[in-house]
């Protein structure tokens, strides 16, 4: 019988070979450490404005005007946060923003999911033209319509109301686009199979398509929510009272340079940044998944 397997002698490297291998390993470790170092520096740069805001919001007004830089406050002035709530109805603003952003998100999900379904799964005349028209809205700067929209909404008597803040944003080309992108990788066989099973379109959407579009829904939601939360120009125009003011507007009205106000203002800023950052951090994974990948496993 042929010698098919070499003799299994215990394997020993000589010193020279061992040191070559060791050097290679050390080189790799050094590279990794270097990468980690650079990343740490860059991360601090990116994070700096936020860290700075937190730090300043915890300083006492007296410290604000100090002419030397100190990241850490002398003593934590947590009362700034309580005071910020006293100066402006931040609670109301946050509630408003939540209502507005949530409803916008839901609206975009529904309108986007339906529209994208039609674009991707159904045949119709001129569908691609309509789709192009939808995408073209991305190119129309909001400012090109804001005057007309404002006057229109004013005419309807919608100023200073939730509807004014919400309704114009109930759909978005980005959402439709994202959904359609996602649907593109959706196995068409599932649709056909559902059709063979006698499933109607609307049932298909809600029982099969949407349950399987979780990554897209996640991405769209996070995206829509963050954008809605961070809207500035439109709410600035249409909200006129604290009752309907969103956080971005409310907080920017705290803008002032006296040291007393600076700390409160920054406390306010930190407070309003937290929800969107929070949503971002919990939604980041699905955001990435939904924005860029999009396949149904099964």
């Amino acid at each position: 019988m042929a010698a098919q397997v070499e003799e299994t002698r215990p394997f020993i490297l000589d010193d020279e070979q061992a040191s070559l291998i060791r050097r290679q390993e050390i080189k790799k470790k050094v590279q990794k450490a270097g990468l980690l170092g650079i990343n740490t520096v860059v991360m601090l740069v990116v994070l700096f404005p936020l860290l700075y805001a937190v730090s300043m919001s915890l300083k006492s007004p007296g410290e604000v005007y100090s002419s030397t830089f100190r990241l850490l406050p002398e003593s934590l002035q947590l009362s700034n946060y309580a005071d910020a709530f006293a100066v402006a109805p931040l609670g109301q603003y946050i509630a408003n923003s939540f209502i507005v952003a949530s409803l916008i998100t839901v609206g975009q999900l529904v309108s986007g999911a339906l529209a994208a379904f039609s674009f991707q799964f159904l045949e119709s005349k001129g569908k691609e033209i309509i789709f192009a028209l939808v995408l073209a809205t991305l190119m129309v700067p909001g400012e090109a319509t804001i005057v007309s929209n404002y006057l229109q909404i004013g005419q309807w008597g919608w100023l200073d109301s939730y509807r004014a803040l919400i309704v114009p944003f109930l759909t978005s080309a980005t959402t439709i686009f994202l959904f359609r992108q996602f649907y593109k990788s959706f196995p068409i066989a599932l649709y056909e199979s559902a059709k063979m099973d006698g499933c109607s379109n609307i049932r298909f959407i809600f029982q099969i398509l949407l349950p399987l579009s979780k990554p897209a829904i996640g991405a769209v939601s996070v995206n829509a929510f963050i954008n809605a939360w961070n809207m500035y120009m439109w709410p600035l125009l249409v909200s006129g009272s604290d009752r309907y003011r969103t956080v971005q507007i409310g907080v920017s009205m705290m803008n002032s340079v006296d040291s007393q106000s600076v700390v409160l203002m920054l406390a306010g800023v930190v407070i309003v940044l937290i929800p969107s950052l929070f949503i971002f951090i919990i939604g980041q994974k699905s955001l990435v998944k939904g924005l860029f990948a999009g396949s149904v496993k099964g």
Binding site: S67, G240, M254, V257, D258, S261
Partner: protein, 440 residues
Amino acid sequence: ACTTDDGDSAVVEGDAAEPETEAVSTDVTGEGQTITFWHAMGGDLGLAVDQLVDRFNETNELDITVVSEFQGTYDDAITKLRSASLGNLEADVVQIYDIGSRYMLDSGYVVPMQDFIDSEGYDISQIEPNIAAYYTVNDDLYSMPFNSSTPVLYYNVDMFEEAGVDGPPESLSEIEDMHDALVNEGGADMPIALTIYGWFVEQFTAKQGLDLVNNGNGRDDVATEVSFMDNDAMINILEEWYALYESGAAPNVGREGGIPEFVSGQAAMTLASTASLSSILNEVDGSFEVGTAYLPAVKEGDDGGVSIGGASLWALESGNDEKEQASWEFIKFLISPEIQADWASSTGYFPITTAAHEEDVFKENIENFPQFQTAIDQLHESSAESQGAFLSVFPEARQIIENEIENMLNGVATPEEAAEEMAAQINSAIENYNLINTPE
């Protein structure tokens, strides 16, 4: 087509409100109404306003409820009001800064104070005449002064003593003379932190005794163009300003700077509204002694005074007599001596009624902080002549002026060019406005 209406056009507009005027009779009490009050007082001032409102809500016997809404800066507030008029946004009482007055008159949706005063026979003699003058057109008081201020010079007394400088400057050119002493001996980084603020330009013009716009500073008739070119008011100001900047006496601190530099001890002086007094004292917190002085003249020997600044309260038409009456009740409350005294002490604004001076709170406050007195004296020394300009596009004009000052300081334009550019832009804005907004 330029409007040929005289100043009475506002009154004509006001006539539209005449029926209401009559309707303000005994059976209209404003009882049980809820009215919205828009104000532009941020920060500490805002807290003070809210306190007043709360107090009114608690104490008024007519069960009127006032909802106060902060609308941002003065600019934001008038912008909001203007755009609100396009829709359904409603306010009953709004606080509008001095320079918004002409626009308010033109707007056609205000109820003149005079209507309330006349129908009730309210006695306004208490109101400081210099203050009332600003808001009076053809002897009718259109809005009720509420928070009135003038600009004053704040200076660091410790620094001045250190530097051996006698007292605050009386004119801009004097500042240059103190420069070396204040910096070298006083330890200041800069003699003065001069905020780029259109209001100061307006006040420097008044201080020169000159008009900003034609037609009697816009009070005899609707202004049709600026007059600061013809009377050299602007060029004088800009040249002095630029000279201070050039020499380093007044570095460019932007539109937001001024007070921060002063309270942090970098600047020996700054210009600011009297309204800033309490917050400046707060911020300085005793780290040095704060002195106040009259607004410096542009050149020595200028014989004008300062005009009243701050803001006034406007009652808006709502088509609901009860509501309008409620607004009036609220306004009356705000100008009552007791409230004014309180308000003045906690902010730095003048009490607009002389009676307030008699209140204990006020007296006490003046005793503790004699700096308050400067502003009052300054106002009293100014004549009603320097009542300030009336201009529909005043907010825009102020922006233009500030822009051009920035351009000048940044070396983009010389003082002459800046002044010319201001004139050109403001004139075109006036023309445009008058063209479109001719009452039908």
